[in-house]
């Protein structure tokens, strides 16, 4: 044993299976995420293909014959106001997606900015942001949304205002989560090493900390989209949505108002209801799946 300087023994590198194989294996373990993604992709395809094939004008009243049961011509039937329900569903899903992405994206963005600001500057800025979040969090969101949406002139309510109403009380969650994550990340040793490597504080935030928070940010975003879609749905069902638009909730509200079941127009509210269940279900599955990906404590042993 005279060798003093260690020399690495020739050791064949472990054969790494392809990325696709690893991804499939991961999905096999995290089935919730896989199922959620499959449903979501199916819904997106339905909407995209629908938008390309149907005539969007048929999603609005008096465009087709009224009260037709499902048939080859109108696979989802038509309603009391003379809307092609297939067209209404496609446009409604598109609008739901717009609300979800705008509200979810805005909520997450505010969360990231405030969360990072809070954790980075600390001191009174941190206390202020944290206190505001903690005061707003327990307020029943539904109540405020109903009051605000109800006090608006119905003619002014559009898809965008809908999204803004929803986002109004939805940014505190992501703010607190991201703030907490940045605070723990800041104490990690690789941040100290980055400082020793001459990396500036700002670069540490964006290059060292932010990339590690991507799973959290993704999970927060999906959670926000879920909350936004759900809020837009129940507000519309309560008749507080943009009445002219064929939002999924609006269709159900209209069907209920005209006594669709009493009159035997069963096909009217069924489609939107199933679509809503699928949308919310897939988002919830994805959210839980991402949670498992982001949070090692929840992560199963691999």
């Amino acid at each position: 044993m005279t060798t003093i300087v260690a020399t690495s023994a020739p050791e064949a590198a472990v054969q790494q299976p392809g990325r696709l194989t690893l991804l499939l294996r991961y999905f096999n373990r995290n089935k919730g995420l896989a199922i959620g993604l499959i449903i979501l992709i199916a819904l997106v395809l339905f909407t995209v293909i629908g938008l390309m094939t149907i005539n969007p004008k048929q999603a609005y009243p008096l465009s087709v014959a009224t009260k037709q049961p499902p048939s080859l011509k109108y696979p989802f039937g038509t309603d009391f106001f003379g809307r092609n329900l297939l067209a209404a569903m496609v446009v409604g899903m598109w609008q739901t997606a717009v609300i979800g992405v705008i509200a979810g994206g805005l909520g997450t963005l505010i969360g990231i900015v405030l969360g990072f600001t809070s954790a980075y500057f600390g001191g009174w800025i941190d206390s202020t942001i944290r206190t505001i979040c903690q005061i707003l969090t327990p307020i029943p969101v539904l109540l405020i949304q109903v009051v605000v949406a109800g006090s608006l002139d119905k003619r002014d309510v559009t898809i965008i205002t809908m999204a803004l109403i929803v986002v109004m009380l939805a940014w505190m969650g992501p703010t607190l989560v991201i703030r907490a994550q940045v605070l723990t990340m800041k104490e990690r040793q690789f941040v100290s090493v980055a400082k020793l490597s001459g990396v500036s504080d700002i670069a540490i935030i964006f290059k060292e900390i932010l990339p590690n928070l991507l799973p959290f940010i993704a999970a927060a975003f999906v959670g926000q989209v879920f909350a936004a879609v759900f809020a837009s749905f129940y507000l519309a069902v309560l008749g507080l949505g943009p009445l002219r638009e064929p939002l999924l909730g609006n269709i159900i509200w209209a069907a209920q108002l005209q006594g669709a079941f009493f009159n035997g127009w069963w096909w009217w509210p069924i489609g939107p209801s199933i679509a809503m269940i699928l949308i919310l279900g897939s988002l919830a599955l994805i959210n839980m799946g991402l949670d498992e990906l982001a949070n090692p404590r929840v992560r199963r042993t691999e």
Binding site: M1, T3, I4, A6, T7, S8, A9, P10, E11, A12, A13, V14, Q15, Q16, P17, L22, R25, T301, E302
Partner: protein
């Protein structure tokens, strides 16, 4: 299998050791099925241990030390699987027990103090309550006062004041917490105690206290102790036997004196000569190379790429375990009969 444990000259408890081994591990095999392939974490490991003796288990991380402990406790979790062999403790075949009986055996026959156990004490429960819980889940029908006596006895055995019974973990120092873990381990006077790196997070003084506590406890209940660690110095100070693991195999098992005076396996030899002592100041004899990945073991003897004495046979043929005249076990072609 005739074993090193026949020679217990260096053990303080030699006189008390009974003839029959209390622990016997035979051809234990554990495989992990990972995304990257199949890893044989434990490859036909066999050894026996007598009551009242202490065996140190050393090896690099990934050599299978902790897997061995978990396999003996039947606590291997998927994607790992015990694929063969058996473990006998005092006449009971643990592999043959039902899940429920195994659960009961876990504290009463064979106790395991996992790595970092001291940090796993429940912070919101008093030490006493955690001890009582441990007893109740393994032993039905003992009166409250008997349980209490048992706890006080265990605490006293590890040199803790009985008042610790009413304290919370945060009120204790690291060394005290580790001794609480040992106290919980000995509550039901198990025949075998396995401690996984019980002192790696402690400073030298506390480490010595904990080791002396283990010594004293063992004197009292005469169980067999397996200490998993990688500090050869600690093994020299406290153990009767030393087992060396490499890439999932037991490559050498010897009494502590044999291990430190005439190690047989080239890996053990390299390990011993890499240790810093008072006499070899400034000489650094590391072992060249790195431990192999279990997913891609070299052919033949897994140590051959780092071995200065490797022969062509080492490269192609896996060495079997040889029993030397003194009872020492060594898995190396250098000691094959006829050599």
């Amino acid at each position: 299998m005739n074993l090193a444990s026949t020679d217990t000259a260096s053990g303080r408890n030699a006189g008390r050791a009974t003839a029959e081994p209390v622990l016997s591990v035979n051809d234990l095999v554990v495989t992990y099925y990972t995304d990257l392939g199949r890893a044989r974490a434990l490859d036909k490991v066999s050894f026996t241990l007598k009551a009242g003796t202490k065996m140190g288990m050393v090896g690099e991380s990934g050599s299978g030390k902790s897997t061995l402990a978990l396999a003996m406790m039947r606590m291997i979790k998927p994607p790992g699987r015990i694929e063969g062999g058996n473990v006998w403790v005092g006449g009971t075949d643990l592999q043959a027990l039902s899940e429920e009986d195994m659960r009961k055996a876990r504290l009463s026959k064979i106790a395991y103090i996992p790595q970092g156990a001291m940090n796993s004490l429940n912070p919101v429960m008093r030490v006493g309550a955690q001890m009582v819980d441990a007893i109740k889940s393994h032993l039905r029908g003992e009166s409250a006062s008997a349980i209490n006596d048992r706890c006080v006895w265990a605490l006293k055995s590890v040199d803790l004041d009985p008042s610790v019974f009413h304290m919370y973990p945060h009120e204790l120092s690291g060394g005290m917490k580790q001794r609480v873990c040992i106290a919980i381990g000995i509550l039901l006077r198990p025949e075998v105690i396995i401690a996984d790196e019980p002192t790696s997070a402690l400073d030298v003084v506390t480490q010595r206290q904990v080791m002396e506590t283990i010594d004293k406890v063992q004197d009292e209940i005469n169980s067999a102790v397996i200490l998993i660690g990688h500090d050869m110095g600690l093994m020299a100070q406290t153990m009767d036997h030393v087992a060396v693991m490499y890439a999932g195999r037991l490559v050498e098992l010897a009494t502590v004196r044999e291990m430190f005076t005439s190690p047989k396996h080239p890996y053990s030899q390299a390990l011993i000569s890499s240790l810093p002592t008072l006499d070899n100041k400034g000489q650094f004899k590391g072992i060249p190379g790195l431990a192999p990945s279990l997913l891609r073991l070299p052919t033949g003897c897994a140590f051959h790429p780092r071995c200065p004495l490797a022969s062509d046979r080492s490269r192609t043929e896996k060495p079997k375990v040889n029993v030397l005249p003194g009872g020492q076990l060594v898995a190396c072609h250098l000691y094959d009969q006829g050599n």
